[in-house]
Amino acid sequence: MTGRELLEARDLRKTYPAGRTGKRVAAVDRVSFRIDTGETVAFVGESGSGKTTIGRLVARLETADAGSIRFDGEDWLALSGEALRRKRRHVQIVFQDPQTSLNPRMRVGDQVAEPLRVQKLVGRRELEDRVAALLREVGLDPAASARFPSEFSGGQRQRIAIARALATRPRLLVCDEPVSALDASVAAQIINLLLDLQRDLGLAYLFISHDLPLVSRVADRVAVLYLGRIVEEGPAATLIARPLHPYTAALISSVPGHGPGEPAARIALAGEPGRGTAENPGCDFAPRCPIARPRCRVEVPPLAKIFPGSRAACFYPGELRVPTL
């Protein structure tokens, strides 16, 4: 299913002004990753981890301060103007809340057709047929075309947003928390739709989520973010069975389990996320880390290969275990 390299990001960095202090805080810092064709790579983290910013950088909705992205062999961040407009069709994005990402005053059919019109991909005659086919593809009746988003449920609206994102036949879909605004039973339907589309169209997903169990179901590889940096990356099953970074272990342990192999007790973390300062030049996670040593408070651990396919930014990888049932 997965194959050759589709996208490679190197040392991405994005900063924002920190309040009125005049300083800048890095939302994303030295983030590197690769996505192959037809593959799902998930970014997991809590608020402020930078996961949404990474998705927006890849979709060219934000401009990186530093770093590079190669997409399909091209310098993706260097594209501009007409060249960017033409290439943009290959990377589309689906947002968390279709309530706000769809235009309430525009008919569903027009919204799904919009990317096709902008990209001038289809003639006017064909447009209607393409929209109908797209709506069918996401499990909606083509009659939906003439209606407005408010006439649909949350799950149906997310289907409309997905149809619109698929209109240009992208090769990579950035899914930013695509089901977290939905009820469990509807979320499962949307996940199944995304899995079906991937199988049928060979799509690659950059899947952004805070939901580790969901990610373990859909992603080939998972990157765990903490305060803008990747602290661990690896195949989903390995990462969950054998977390290397203590933050990953804590995240896993906070998922309530009730079956064999699931977390039995929670690894509680002290306080809330706080970035390193001049006085605290070490690992960002050290102040909350249950296994921090003196070294962790003075030195930043690099993201290093621990075993083939798995990287972690910790001096003591794998030391903190998740108690399981």
Binding site: D183, L195, D196, S216, A219, L251, H258, E262, A268, E272
Partner: protein, 345 residues
Amino acid sequence: MIPDVPAAGPDAYPLLRAVDLRVEVPVDGILRPAVDGISLTMGRGECLAVVGESGCGKTMLGRALLDLLPEGARRSGSVHLDGHDLSGITDAEWSGIRGRRIALVFQEPGAALDPVRTIGAQIDEALRRGDRGNSGARRRRAASLLAEVAFPDPERGLAEYAHRLSGGQRQRAFLAIALAGDPALLIADEPTASLDATVAADVLDLLDRLRRERGLSLLLITHDLASAARRADRVLVLYAGRIAEEGPARSVLLEPRHPYTRALLACVPRLSDAASLGRRLPAIPGSVPDLAFRPRGVCAFVPRCPDRFAPCDLEEPLLYPAGSSLARCFLFAPSLLPAVADPAR
């Protein structure tokens, strides 16, 4: 049909008892039942989880217990607190109950906190409503409440404003205000839905501790069946305004009976699923029916149910005993039992 819950205290009455509670809300000018005949009993120090998807009536149920209903809504049925019937009591009597006997915490503490007053001033206001001592005593009490909810640096917290706090700190501050009236029952409506997983678990642990230390009863309203069932004593699973299943938390989680409960647990991915990478989830088809389009006189879950059989389309099931739980499903109707081949149910 309500199982007997032994009162934890010496009192003859359970802390809270609601019988056949019904809330009708206007939808396009027609009253529709958002809460459709729910009965429940809560003992002292007990945690009851009310679980369901949006539109199941769980928030409206919490509001109905405090008579905090939207404009034009109509409530019927009865609510008893410590054996006292709360139907028809005056607004003045209600204000002696809200915040004092029963407190409410919401999902978005940011919206519930006053942005222009300090946390200390807001706790103080709640303490003054309860006539709790002079200003010096109230200040000490306010600081000790913040300490009780494990607010970092309580003394400084008194002078803080909501916007300067993190989501977790806001929820702690809001809990301190809720506890100022020394309530016997806390109704927590999705108290952690807007928080990150690690912070959410901290807040739920805090609620557990308050329950133990204060003997507080907790009505936990949530969409998350698995995490609620780990903390609650009993669980009510709501569907379309009615109780679909109720029982001891462990039974509902580990041996769900109602097809809806089983489907709801099955469609949520689990960590132990990592081996099923890329496999479709067992989704429930369709969605919770809108208030205006609810099936009447038949089982409300029928259009989505994998186990529907002849009687489901003919009449509405009652709550029948199913193992140590109750389930509103004909699979467990005593008169139909011989017709059902699967004895495991």
